[in-house]
Amino acid sequence: MAMENPATSQIPVAGGAATLGSVAKNSESLSATRKKPLEIALFWIFALCAAVTVFTTFGIIAVLVTESAPFFREVSLARFFGEKEWAPLFNPPHYGVLSLICGTFLVAAGAALFSLPMGLLAAIYLSEYASPRARNIMKPVLELLAGVPTVVYGYFALLFITPLLQNGLESMTPTLQRVTGNPNLFPTIEVFNALSASIAIAIMTLPLVASLCEDSLRVVPRALREGAYALGATKMEVSLKVVVPAALSGIMASFILAVSRAVGETMIVALAAGASPKITLNPLESIQTMTGYIVQVSMGDVPHGSIGYQTIFAVGLVLFCITVLMNLASISLVKKYRHKYD
């Protein structure tokens, strides 16, 4: 189909040449023969550009699989997913990737707990309540904030949120001791902890969630809202029982995207979450995520080609698989949503 268009545009030229004068015939056929190779070449050049993206995906998969293959020859999958400890550089080494996955999801879940409801509420405000003027100011500001680099949030997590949490916990200690009746209770929050990374990631993904949710809320046809008002519903009932359910697949897609972003987030956890992989649900402890581990090894002096170095490709493969699954879920939800109101 792509090749047809330039061709069809030349058919009348060739056909009309016979009836038109010879001058027209000469110039038209000249330009026709001159154009054709260029058109074909451009088609292939553009196709090649599009193919670059396919090569990128295959490149990522090929690199992750081939580079982690030697690792998986050494360490069985059962050991990789079965062991409880992750200490590939120790002697004896442990390769239990679950503690990294646990750290990743502890941080991501903590972030989601803040950012998803807050983002949705902000989106409801922007889409249902805000005056056009307020929205025209707030939406661009939100989009602007989505462009703050993650290393800035990492700095903020380590140097603002963590001290704040430490001070807060300290001032709460007497109350906690009284409530629990245990005078020896001294809850501590480590300098590197999952919670401050979670909060920073939540602040980072909040504009993303709010902006994407607002987009899907606004696409909901006006007639649905009007119908609900006509039945006597209040504004809250319209928002929560009509508009949000109607936009649910779009909202879910943005939620999944935000969680996938949180899972893949690197700089914040590298700076603030620490480097002690463990299976825990306590957000006050130091943990390590998959991305944090990859950064740690790539910054260290682990010799290339050693099994310790190959672990980053194995962990990268797990990370890639998890995020791809989430992205595909999000993409299919968006598609479903588009069909609904197009």
């Binding site: 196709a47 405000y125 309540y129 703050v148 680099p149 791809v324 993409i331």
Partner: protein, 308 residues
């Protein structure tokens, strides 16, 4: 809301359904209205809170970094001593890397978008490429770092150079440019294409003279956003081993480099308070550039969106 109790199936009652007493219904209504107002306040509060959080971050960082932000900071190389350290090599490194990124990603991204939007139509290959691009946009940046490490640094032998870094970031932002360009091309009315064909223009003439000029603001927005994204990226470059002490300005594509976010990360991860303060100064420089770029992009988008 006044609800009629459903009549039981076994006793069809001739009595009309009972309505709730008026008084109770009005308190019910009042409660619903109150809930609605509270909900509005909640939404508004959360929105305000999110803006407040961001204002808090900015002001905190500004307070820390402003005292260190002077000409010496901009024109010195990094140093063991915080007072003498600067971001000269990081600024130059960022510019060099971004040039490579732009030269690679802008033409390829626009080309890919033209292919998908103007040539490919709706076949299986195009749909696959489309899903693939949407997925690539969500792949963690550190995974691109792994790809860059294996492909550019090692397999192609570019070492830890400006070229490797720029190409890696180029692959990273390619989906952003493609998606934005496609969006812009989709916004060009088909009547313009048909009119151009009717005048005897070829496909490429139509794209170049009719479609691209109209789509330009949208494409430009995508390009600016992608450059600013590339400028703030840290993880893939660290992955490639760019976190080293660089006290020189790169002279060519094969030279080593450091960038602004890498320098910020480096200083932040040190325990000394002075280094954390100059990290804040670095952040101010980085954010000034990024936020101006993004503001420009958003301004362009809103301006031209409202016109079409």
């Amino acid at each position: 809301m006044a609800t009629a109790p459903a009549p039981l199936p076994d006793s069809p009652s001739p009595v009309p359904p009972k309505y709730q007493p008026l008084a109770s219904s009005s308190t019910h209504l009042r409660r619903r209205k109150l809930a609605s107002t509270l909900f509005y306040l909640l939404c508004f509060g959360v929105t305000l809170l999110s803006f407040f959080l961001l204002a808090w971050i900015m002001s905190g960082i500004f307070k820390q970094g402003i005292p260190y932000l002077n000409q010496q900071f901009l024109t010195s190389f990094p140093s063991r001593f915080a007072e003498q350290a600067g971001i000269k090599s990081a600024l130059y490194g960022s510019v060099y890397v971004l040039c490579v990124t732009a030269v690679f990603a802008i033409p390829v991204g626009i080309g890919a978008a033209i292919f998908l939007q103007e040539y490919a139509g709706d076949n299986r290959f195009a749909r696959f490429v489309q899903v693939n691009i949407a997925n690539l946009a969500g792949v963690p940046s550190i995974v691109y770092g792994i790809l860059g490490l294996a492909l550019f640094v090692r397999a192609l032998g570019f070492e830890r150079s400006v070229l490797s870094g720029g190409l890696t970031l180029g692959l990273l932002v390619l989906p952003i440019i493609i998606i934005a360009t496609q969006e812009a091309l989709r916004g060009v009315p088909n009547s313009l294409r048909h009119g151009s064909y009717a005048l005897g223009a070829s496909k490429w003439q139509t794209i170049r003279r009719q479609v691209l000029p109209i789509a330009m603001p949208g494409i430009l927005t995508g390009i600016i956003l992608s450059i600013s994204r590339a400028m703030g990226e840290t993880a893939p470059l660290i992955m490639m081993g760019a976190l080293t002490y660089v006290a020189f300005v790169p002279r060519g594509l094969r030279d080593g480099f450091t960038t602004l976010p890498i320098q910020v990360f480096n200083w932040t991860s040190r325990p000394q308070v002075e280094f954390q303060a100059i990290a804040a100064a670095g952040i101010i420089v980085l954010m000034t550039v990024l936020l101006s770029l993004n503001a420009l992009a958003i301004f362009l988008r809103y301006r031209y969106n409202s016109r079409l």
